[in-house]
Symmetry: C2
Subunit: 343 residues, 2 copies
Amino acid sequence: MGVERVGRYTYRTTGVAIAGTGSVVGPKEGQGPLRAYFDRVWDDEIQGETSFERAERRLLQESQEVALDRAHWAWDDVDAAIGGDLLDQIVSTNFAGRQHGRPLLGLFSACAVFTEALGLGAILLSSAPMKRVLVSAVSHHMAAERQFRYPIELGVQRSPTAAWTATAAGSAALQAGPGELVVESVTFGRVVDFGSKDPNDMGSAMAPAAFDTIARHLEDTKQRPQDYDAIYTGDLGDLGIRLLEALGDRQDLPLAGSVDDCGRSLYDLKRQDVHNGGSGPGCSAGVFCGPLAKRLEAGDLNRLLLVATGALFSPTTYQQGDTIPCIAHAVAIQRQSSKEGIP
Amino acid sequence: MGVERVGRYTYRTTGVAIAGTGSVVGPKEGQGPLRAYFDRVWDDEIQGETSFERAERRLLQESQEVALDRAHWAWDDVDAAIGGDLLDQIVSTNFAGRQHGRPLLGLFSACAVFTEALGLGAILLSSAPMKRVLVSAVSHHMAAERQFRYPIELGVQRSPTAAWTATAAGSAALQAGPGELVVESVTFGRVVDFGSKDPNDMGSAMAPAAFDTIARHLEDTKQRPQDYDAIYTGDLGDLGIRLLEALGDRQDLPLAGSVDDCGRSLYDLKRQDVHNGGSGPGCSAGVFCGPLAKRLEAGDLNRLLLVATGALFSPTTYQQGDTIPCIAHAVAIQRQSSKEGIP
């Protein structure tokens, strides 16, 4: 147990395991290539709720319930819920807190919030006397679109670089103690702003932040990209991943073949009309807590670096002509048996 | 060094001290009874910036600079900046992050965010290998009013129970190591919702959350209210404090004489036309980092429980008819010399 500092920015955690995960997604996400990996796929986007915002709240709560169930925990076992979402005043996370009644650490880091929560949870469990925390993130396509851009009913045409905010939630039950999937290390991101101003091209805005965090993580831990079976960014999408690879090539850190993106893998980009790919806090959370966690459990992946990416603007800052600051937080997850020889 | 769990909800931290604080406030706050305690008082609300939102960002940055200066730190010494604000997507905190370039842990807990940040920072310093963190919170009257209610230019009449969002920022430089002001313990809050729906009476909505956190803190640490020289809530205001005392009387935990409120003390309620008192994340942050920290340093207070309070609603949830969930996080601060006999 304990946290060790590695290099300047990275914290190595010991004795923290993922006891269970839950992922719940909307119908469009359920039609994508990862369908089989999700715990629940909604057959419509609203599920009888009276608003998309309430549907988002329910999506989060369902993912939390699945994660608790997998971990064989009751809410009463949870020392703290940690997480966030994209709605103003993170109301999904806060209103879910009203139901569960556990101490709540609300975070905001836009679409990077899942790894902020996972990293913070792992450090708290590894060093402080918490035993069990539940980390979560959620987003809902319709709720996000009408908050950030236009109500979907308007049918505004989307630009080719636009991302599709995912209707998805992911929750992970983190415990102090052994387990099959352990959190190895955490690198918290710095804000990086290359001057991008286009809210319909967040992949370009976020790629430099993703690169900054990945480069610092690898430098601190003295690793090469290939030391991970996969490095998954959150929601750079197809364009953002190509920019990330180009940044890597320029800086002598070749990433091609090592990096993929939750948002790009969530949909069939050719068939599903999502342009650049998925985005939103629920994108990395849902893809990790479903597909990636299951691939780790199955031994298909042994070591994964998850790098959720966030664009830290608001509609107000956009309208006031500000650029889009971005951030990325990285968490390394390892399938324990791969290193320790447990079958 | 280390964190010990006390009771069910409270964490006792050792070896964490406040190395310096900075508080910067607007002109109205500078006309109140606490004027002499603030590090800087702005002579107007905008300071030549082109928007209130940019002014809020600058207010935060100035408070961070003062805190660093007091602690004799450079930004490069800071392991992480931790904090939040009230604007959508906490853009003040995030855009300030673009300037300082340190790892950023963005939080959202409405007006309770300062003690969420202070508590989290103290636990991380006490248990994990971080050495120095800077915790901050900010709010700006005009920026908050136009986001949550109406642009101030409309001159909408305010209800008697309405709070006045403070133009204020507070930052505290927290270090692992000894110091005059130490963080003793932290109690993170649960979401409490008594069904209040009036965004113009947040004192009534938040009082039950403040009571819940104070009661759990005292129970966990086996203390009575009088064991603190003062218990300061964040922004319950005049009405909220009276409700808090009434809740205490009902639950056999008399609080009268022990509790006061940052928002109530920030203004002259009779003279300054702020109705119920001050509110906003900057209210508890500015009042702690200026007046309360200075009273602790002077030995006027020896042990303080700071309980920032937050209403976790959004304009959207209000318009959709939802109630107002609330939260409060408590941090106990002690003047070290008082217990250790250092003159």
